[in-house]
Symmetry: C2
Subunit: 204 residues, 2 copies
């Protein structure tokens, strides 16, 4: 299998961490897509993913799975070992909910700020500066909800480390990289961030 | 169990159709949330869902699952019968990918148009008219990808009806309701739309 990715893109990192947690990252050929050179918009890459995004997983039968979440779902079903999407019906639904809250809230706000209020990846896509700046305020609302959840739970979706933590870690590190926040104002998020950052998979 | 919903909201409809496909809709108490009266922003509702959205599932133990997708995941794990999220690793990943493409593409574009370029649900949330109007053009890009996918597949994620079809159906009906498009320009989507609309669950 091949994983088309870039080292810094938060969505690619989500997939790498998930696969590393499953112990399968060494089985993959990693191929870097040069976003700065517009390689993701080439005809060759669009044939792999019409949405022009990374990551993309190429299976051995030549088919493609796009979307970090869907690629993670593939490895969850493929492998035995710990279940990062949960086991029981309630656990699976709760993890899915917090994964979505981290992704549609924290990662989305940060990504929209990056693409609309900064130079982004320097491409020619539509920019709406006011929209991008508005996402800064939205990010803070989402973080307040995460902080509250982590008051009574060691991990984002409850007692166990899950894909929700992977999404929040990559989202938060992206926001920190953009200087959109400091964790000083969030003691619970700060404690959680330190802990999950120490897992070996975080370096993936 | 209780499902807090509104009849017209596309995300609530996604959950109802999914539960109807599982044959479990009669087991639920349906409770209407009056969005027009701001009931979703009341302290009582925010205690159920800090994101102030429908649907919300209340489990018999008093806990809450929000997000149409997460609620569907709960019923997928809970019930036997056909798997609307797929069976094999590849099938599950492919369905997840097309579900996300329908949701993050078609439903997101339409929802953003609704909330930013129209009066939406008449609340006081931030509006960015230019952003809303831009989503019309984005919607057409996403529909072109769906049309191409349906050229060679009976259903959105391939050979079997899945949660991806439920998401696309609710997204498309929402866009049609807003007069954002006509299906005349999309023969494959039109064929698919007729077929999935005829399933009894579509009336849920």
């Amino acid at each position: 299998m091949k994983l088309y990715h870039t080292q810094i893109a938060p969505n690619a990192r989500r997939a790498r961490i998930f696969i590393a947690e499953k112990g399968l990252l060494e089985n993959l050929e990693l191929i870097t897509v040069k976003l700065g050179d517009g390689e993701h918009k080439s005809a060759d890459f669009l044939a792999k993913n019409p949405y022009a995004t990374v990551p993309v997983l190429e299976l051995d039968d030549g088919s493609f799975i796009t979307e970090s979440h869907s690629i993670s779902r593939y490895f969850e079903s493929l492998s035995s070992g710990i279940k990062l999407f949960g086991e029981t019906a309630k656990e699976q639904a709760t993890i899915d909910m917090w994964q979505r809250r981290a992704e549609l809230g924290v990662l989305f706000s940060t990504g929209q700020y990056f693409h609309h209020a900064t130079q982004g990846i320097g491409d020619d896509r539509y920019r709406n500066n006011e929209w991008g700046l508005h996402q800064q305020s939205q990010l803070l609302l989402h973080l307040a909800i995460m902080e509250k959840q982590l008051q009574h739970n060691p991990f984002l979706a409850g007692e166990i480390y899950s894909i929700a933590d992977i999404t929040l870690l990559c989202s938060l590190d992206f926001a920190l990289h953009l200087n959109l926040l400091t964790l000083n104002d969030y003691p619970k998020l700060s404690r959680w961030h330190q802990e999950v950052s120490q897992r070996p998979s975080s370096a993936a």
